[in-house]
């Protein structure tokens, strides 16, 4: 059943995923190109100096990209599910409903993680040759909350999309906006270092909120 769910989700999201991977890699690659251009024009020393003295990290462009990618994946995956009443059919299949919903979310988490990991791999690959390990770590750790926000956004928007009533959707939306704001409270690089493990745990826990919406859907809540 897992395979079947994964295949169904893949059919639904494959073109979007291609676009998401291309967009995120495009932005990450462009950020690396910006560093490369500074190296060509002013020398590698300039990159090191501005990073050490002015808190420049060169990847600011990426800040909200993972967030958008995560939100849109949830929309692409779950809006058709609700509009075409596919979720109703899925829940009638002779298989654990919790596992089916879990499999759908797991699919999203896995492909999103793959997409984001590709970004980190690309950046680490380039940065490793140009700057010291400390500076590379500085850039990548600064980006971690942004990508974590992308994963949280995916889970929260899934929660909103699966919710059957508009009144509750607005409450969920408000909570989601506030929760996602937490990931963007500071512009100081590496400001989230101490908070990252807790953010990661909470992000994973938000997957359970979708079950709340599905349960309300099952009992027939509607506008």
């Amino acid at each position: 059943m897992f395979k079947a769910i994964f295949y169904k989700e893949w059919i639904k999201t494959r073109w979007y995923l291609l676009l998401a991977v291309a967009t995120t890699l495009g932005f990450a690659g462009y950020s690396m190109l910006r560093i490369s251009r500074v190296v060509d024009l002013k020398g590698a020393e300039h990159v090191w100096e501005v990073m050490l003295s002015r808190d420049v990290i060169f990847i600011d462009l990426l800040e909200y990209i993972p967030l958008l990618v995560g939100m849109l994946l949830a929309v692409v995956q779950f809006v058709p599910e609700m509009q075409r009443k596919c979720l109703k059919l899925t829940l009638h299949l002779p298989y654990s409903q919790l596992r089916m919903v879990g499999a759908m979310l797991l699919y999203g988490l896995l492909v999103l993680s793959f997409c984001f990991a590709a970004n980190f791999f690309l950046m680490a690959l380039y940065l490793h040759g140009v700057i010291a390990a400390e500076l590379e770590q500085h850039i990548l750790l600064t980006a971690v909350p942004w990508y974590l926000a992308g994963i949280t956004a995916y889970l929260l928007v899934s929660w909103i999309c699966l919710e059957p009533t508009w009144k509750r959707r607005i409450i969920n939306l408000t909570m989601s906006v506030l929760l996602l704001r937490i990931f963007f409270l500071s512009v100081t690089p590496e400001a989230y270092n101490q908070f990252l493990p807790w953010l990661l745990i909470y992000t994973l826990l938000t997957a359970s909120l979708s079950w709340l919406s599905v349960s309300r859907f099952k009992v027939g809540k509607q506008d």
Partner: protein
């Protein structure tokens, strides 16, 4: 699973309310509080406070009031005269600059060399740090300082210089500096490394460091070679934080604090003098120092208190202390404290980190 989801939902609702409601309340009720400008005058032997005060019947708006602690009021011209070191340029412009102050002959050039402003905030310490440090050439023979082509890191084994252009370790230079440090008794790694690696200063003093045994060292680069000096620390003093000063006068090398929150000055050449103030915790308090040839005025601000100290600039003995009356809580703040006994925030005034705090 449903029960867990519900618990998480309500936990999140409470968490967000404890964060957002006090924030919104503060946003709409916050009022700015301005404290006056305070400076010690060695001419009158008292603090001079310049602040704003409501005019008569509130009709004249706010007026500037200059007074000392005994309540004596001064005009702007009088303040210029009793703070000649601070208002040196104004006195020169008015052709009122004295030949001598407190029996010491002074010139505008001397005053400008000795005057300084130095600030330390908790956010300077409580912030993410990258463990790479540029070591400038402190005796290049040129007037302008230049940024080096490499940076150093201190590991458990020694000091490593990394060439920025090639991102590779400079083995010869690393060995030279490691040997120089080891020879002087430095035990790796360093637990505190403080410098001011910028070209926007008149001279470079490199770095002051604490080794793993909290022994104090001074490291700089002189004509491409290491200059390492071990500094004797008074018995019983366990240094914790260092702040390199690089003042125009070159009379001090660094400010330092120890585990008991005492403040010390490392003078040139290498003498440690205790500043006679009760305590200073740089992780929680900010200090701003306005110094001159005769005295330093230190303002130490914490979230609860705002204290001023005047100390002599030669032996740092206490001349006078003043506690600024804490600004009384407004009615809105009192109500806020009552309505929101528990608040959650993610950012704070004392650090640059994002983390939940109650």
């Amino acid at each position: 699973m449903l029960r867990f989801s519900k618990i998480l939902f309500y936990f999140t609702v409470i968490f967000l309310l404890l964060w957002q409601l006090p924030w919104c309340y503060n946003f709409f009720t916050a009022k700015s509080s301005k404290s006056g400008f305070v400076l010690y005058s060695s001419i009158i032997g008292d603090f001079v406070i310049t602040g704003q005060q409501e005019g008569k019947d509130g009709k004249e708006g706010k007026i500037v009031v200059r007074r000392d602690l005994s309540g004596h009021k001064y005009t702007q011209d009088e303040v210029d005269s009793i703070l000649p070191m601070f208002y040196c340029r104004q006195l020169m412009s008015d052709e009122r600059f004295p030949d001598s102050i407190n029996g010491v002959e002074v010139t505008p050039r001397l005053v400008q060399t000795e005057n300084f402003v130095f600030k330390i905030a908790p956010t300077d310490l409580n912030t993410p740090h990258i463990g790479l440090y540029p070591l400038l050439e402190s005796m290049s023979g040129r007037v302008e300082l230049e940024m080096p082509k490499d940076v150093f890191r201190i590991t458990n084994k020694g000091i490593e210089f990394v060439d920025m252009a090639t991102n590779s370790i400079e083995s010869a230079k690393s060995t030279l500096f490691t040997e120089a440090l080891t020879k002087k008794g430095f035990h790796f790694p360093a637990i505190e490394i403080t410098g001011n690696p910028t070209t926007r200063k008149e001279y470079d003093e490199g770095y002051v460091l604490l080794d793993v045994n909290r022994q104090l060292f001074h490291l700089k680069q002189v004509k491409g070679r290491p200059y390492v000096r071990i500094v004797d620390v008074p018995h019983g003093v366990e240094l914790k934080h260092l702040f390199i000063t690089e003042l125009k006068s070159r009379r001090t090398l660094a400010l330092m604090t120890d585990k008991n929150y005492s403040l010390y000055v490392l003078t040139a050449p290498y003498e440690i003098k205790k500043v006679a103030i009760p305590s200073f915790d740089p992780e929680k308090e900010a200090v701003s120092i306005i110094g001159n040839l005769f005295d330093w005025t230190l303002r130490i601000t914490s979230q609860e208190e705002d204290n001023y100290f005047a100390v002599r600039s030669d032996d740092f003995s206490l001349i006078k202390a003043m506690k600024n009356p804490t600004v009384e809580e407004t009615l809105a703040q009192k109500i806020g404290n009552y309505i929101f006994p528990i608040r959650i925030s993610f950012t704070g005034e004392l650090d640059n980190f994002v983390k939940p705090r109650i």
